[in-house]
């Protein structure tokens, strides 16, 4: 593994009595693509949201690019500029066009001028295959198109790391492919990516490493052919059987 871009030490997070993350130690290398899989409620989305501090962990440390984000005096707004995030529900700004969605943070956060911001936004919208939709409002776009605009919006801030929180879970099945294709292209271009997903085929083909989480802990991790193809842990095996062969009736 190359040098670590993300380093997490003994991370704990609770929501009330619910102990969601129970001591996570974890690294993501530069240009590495890591897919996090696991049953719902296993804490994988929470882990992702702790990395850019959308959730504040109770204890433990998060380092991104050498900077400790969990330090109370860390300038989190500046740090977040270099961490792109994609959401299950896209979260495009409905009062702005696709182009404006990609420009707003560039102008007010990165301090770019209108023409430069517009050029960057155009470039990224073309990159995700939406060069013809730049003036459309989100309500006029399909779910797959909205998620691709969201990718272009994140890319426009030139992130060093991108976090994907189940980016295709809210999409109709026939629209999933467009988004996954864009993500695969990003991986090939050398983006560092951390992807929480249920798309096993994507994890198997694109990920450098697959992490299986259950009950707030990392149970098993390694190359996809090992974790998905030949899991060592019983919990991983049970989960994968349910996901890959859902009609199989498992006595419980």
């Amino acid at each position: 593994m190359a040098e670590a871009l993300v380093r997490i030490n003994d991370l704990h997070k609770s929501f009330g009595d619910l102990h969601v993350l129970r001591g996570i130690d974890f690294e993501v290398g530069v240009r590495e693509v890591v897919c996090v899989i696991g049953p719902s409620g296993s804490g994988k989305s929470t882990l992702l949201r702790c990395i850019n501090l959308l959730e504040t962990p109770e204890s433990g440390q998060v380092f991104v690019d050498g900077e400790e984000l969990t330090d109370p005096d860390c300038d989190i707004d500046t740090a977040r500029r270099h961490i792109g995030m994609l959401f299950q529900s896209f979260n495009l700004f409905p009062h702005l066009t696709a182009l404006e969605n990609c420009m707003v943070a560039q102008t007010i956060v990165a301090g770019r001028g209108q023409s430069e911001a517009s050029k960057v936004a155009m470039h990224n919208l073309e990159r995700v295959g939406l060069g013809d939709k730049v003036h459309a409002y989100p309500a006029k776009l399909s779910g797959g198109q909205q998620q691709r605009v969201a990718i272009a919006r994140a890319l426009s801030m030139e992130p060093a790391l991108m976090l994907f929180d189940e980016p295709t879970s809210a999409l109709d099945p026939e629209l999933v492919g467009d988004v996954l294709t864009v993500m695969r292209q990003l991986a090939e271009d050398g983006m560092t990516m951390l992807v929480v997903t249920h798309e096993m085929a994507f994890a198997r083909e694109v990920a450098d490493r697959v992490v299986f989480m259950d009950d707030g802990q990392i149970v098993e991790q390694g190359p996809p052919q090992d974790v998905i193809g030949n899991p060592r842990q019983e919990r991983t095996r049970v989960f994968l059987k349910r996901v890959l062969d859902p009609t199989h009736v498992q006595p419980t």
């Binding site: 959308l54 500046t78 500029r81 700004f93 707003v104 309500a139």
Partner: protein, 273 residues
């Protein structure tokens, strides 16, 4: 099988026919009531008291446009004041600093709980209670302030609800792009909140238009009469209700189009979501 269906005694009329009869009865009752009203009422007297043509014309011509102008101006100024102060109060109520929240809550609850007319009376007495006290821009200043204070309390609650109705994901998306809390509020939350609250805000404007009639307690000169004051003045002099009815219809010229706009916005808003 067919036996059991017919075993129950059949009703004489089908449900459709019964509904038809029932509707017929309702129309019949209505016709009788209207007929009674027409035959029993003293129409010439009613027309004379409420709708005298010559007085209608005098009211319109003597200064209705001017009174209309004053009602609109009083209301518009108060609405702008209410919007500005209301937005500030809404932001205070959502502040993480406790005392701001308490102050805003106290202001809102106080002025929402009070009859508007008390606020107006208080403003009319201010110069007496505090000698030398003067509000600038007479008479506008006093009216805008009194009406605006009442309006701002309601508008603040509306805007606060609007800000809170902006989905959490919008805030998270903005923050994850590196926007500060303030930038997120200005560029992402507030523009969406105002879109959400446009229908209820227009309703506030309608309420303010009607409440502007309360300025009669403040005491203003003939030159600055609003619709109510103006209508009442002529009605008093002529000992006839017609001028007041005309003034009332003038309010409808403002409020009815606004209601129609609200209904349109609500329909298109429901479609967009």
């Amino acid at each position: 099988m067919t036996e059991t269906i017919h075993a129950e005694p059949r009703r004489r009329l089908s449900p459709r026919k019964r509904a038809q009869r029932w509707r017929l009865v309702q129309y019949a009752v209505l016709v009788v009531l209207v007929g009674l009203a027409i035959s029993l009422a003293n129409w010439s007297q009613i027309l004379d008291a409420f709708f005298r043509p010559d007085l209608t014309w005098t009211t319109i011509e003597q200064g209705l446009p001017k009174a209309f102008y004053y009602t609109v101006t009083y209301t518009a100024g108060a609405f702008i004041y209410g919007l500005v102060v209301g937005t500030i109060l809404a932001l205070m109520k959502l502040s993480s600093v406790g005392p701001y929240r308490w102050l805003a809550t106290a202001y809102i609850e106080f002025f929402r709980g009070l009859p508007a007319i008390i606020v107006f009376i208080a403003f009319s007495l201010l110069p007496l209670g505090i000698p030398g006290f003067r509000i600038p821009f007479p008479p506008y200043g006093t009216v805008w302030l009194a009406l605006g204070i009442v309006g701002s309390a309601y508008i603040a609650e509306t805007i606060r609800a609007g800000i809170q109705a902006v989905p959490r994901g919008q805030i998270e998306a903005a923050r994850s792009l590196g926007m500060t809390a303030g930038q997120t509020m200005r560029k992402i939350a507030l523009p969406q909140a105002f879109r959400i609250v446009l229908p209820p805000l227009t309703n506030e404007l309608i309420l303010l238009t009607k409440d502007s009639s309360l300025i009669f307690v403040i005491g203003i000169t003939v030159e600055e009469f609003d619709l109510t004051y103006y209508g009442r003045e002529i009605a008093n002099n002529e000992a006839n209700m017609t001028p007041l009815v005309v003034a009332g219809f003038a309010y409808l010229l403002i409020t009815l189009p606004l209601s129609i706009i609200v209904r349109r916005m609500e329909r298109s808003g429901a479609k967009a979501r």
